[in-house]
């Protein structure tokens, strides 16, 4: 692949180094001659001095034949404009912009940046994943737009549901046991008269809002 990278800061430098190692052709554009010189001493002549938002500079960089255009300066506005010039003047198939202000994501997408990358968002997602309550049930699928989900529940021996017919278990409204797996091998379609055994595994469709009640009904003692 031919990859044009705008911005030879820390991100641009390490990115260039990594993709070079993977055997790609790379050109690194930056306005600062001293920075480029330092990088070229180490990585060979991969630098082009200039403003990565200027059509003339991108022309010289051979942007028209680039498979990927990556703008990773520390200025969101500069990354946006560089990607827009690459996209609209040189028809680069894929543009990637680094972004610090996470509010800019929908805007960049709307304005033709194919991929946005933000360490702010990544770290935020990590923090959220650490602080969010883990789901009670193993969620297999979310039925989009309906607020429903399909969950996988293993019936513990201590569950009050053990030994009871499915029709006698009071599940939350709009919940349905759609599949039963016995001893982890026999797959069967449950009916109202099927009796649950310890270790049974059931797939249930239900409202996301009732997750807690469903968990209680199937695993609570």
């Amino acid at each position: 692949m031919y990859i044009v990278i705008v911005g030879a800061g820390n991100v641009g430098y390490h990115l260039a180094k990594a993709v070079l190692r993977k055997g790609h052709e790379v050109l690194l554009i930056d306005r600062d001659a001293a920075t480029l010189e330092r990088i070229e001493d180490e990585l060979g002549s991969i630098g082009l001095r200039g403003d990565g938002c200027e059509a003339g500079v991108l022309e010289e960089a051979g942007t028209a034949r680039a498979d990927l255009f990556v703008a990773v300066t520390n200025q969101d506005a500069d990354n946006l404009v560089a990607c827009q010039v690459a996209k609209h003047r040189f028809n680069v198939p894929r543009t990637v912009a680094r972004m610090s202000d996470l509010k800019n994501e929908p805007l960049f997408k709307k304005l033709g940046v194919d991929i946005t990358v933000s360490s702010t968002i990544l770290i935020l997602q990590y923090i959220e994943s650490q602080t969010a309550k883990p789901p009670l049930l193993n969620r297999l699928a979310v039925l989009r737009g309906s607020g429903r989900e399909i969950v996988d529940v293993k019936i513990p021996a201590s569950s009050a549901a053990v030994g009871r017919k499915i029709r006698d278990i009071s599940l939350p409204q709009n919940s349905l046991i759609i599949l039963l797996i016995r001893q982890e091998e026999r797959i069967q379609l449950p009916t109202g008269t099927t009796v649950l055994e310890p270790g049974d595994r059931v797939l249930v469709v239900g409202d996301r809002a009732n997750e807690e009640a469903l968990h209680q009904a199937l695993t609570g003692s």
Partner: protein, 128 residues
């Protein structure tokens, strides 16, 4: 009307538009730039970044009839003008871009642009 960038042009435009009877808000990231506004200026001078949607909202962009991007940085103007058009649907947006080739691209993409470089070059040329 909202003017982003209170440099010489921004401050001068603010007083012209105010004289025309418009209500003006000026936005700049540097408070000292407001010293360029004439003593008679009655509008709002707000500290804020025009490429930040929250700052633009605080400046009242949702009620603005027009938005003018006049900072010294082309890309800041381009980004702010696109936010004004595409996010806040401001009906009249004017964007200053010094780089003539960049100006050409964004004119094609539908921004209303002004390129001082081209204007001055042309003005000088006609004098010679």
């Amino acid at each position: 009307m909202l003017i982003m960038g209170c440099g010489r042009v921004g401050a001068h435009l603010a007083s012209l538009l105010e004289a025309d009877g418009h209500e003006i808000t000026v936005l700049d990231i540097d408070a000292s730039s407001f010293a360029r506004l004439p003593h008679t200026f009655r509008g709002n001078a707000l500290l804020g970044d025009g490429t930040d949607e929250d700052s633009l909202k605080r400046a009242g962009i949702e009620e603005m009839k027009a938005f003018v991007a006049l900072t010294a940085a082309d890309n800041t103007n381009i980004m702010a003008a696109q936010i004004a058009r595409k996010v806040f649907n401001v009906s009249k947006v004017v964007c200053r871009i010094y780089d003539p080739t960049r100006e050409g691209l964004y004119r094609e993409l539908g921004l209303e642009t002004i390129c001082p470089t081209a204007l001055v070059a042309e003005a000088v040329r006609t004098r010679l």
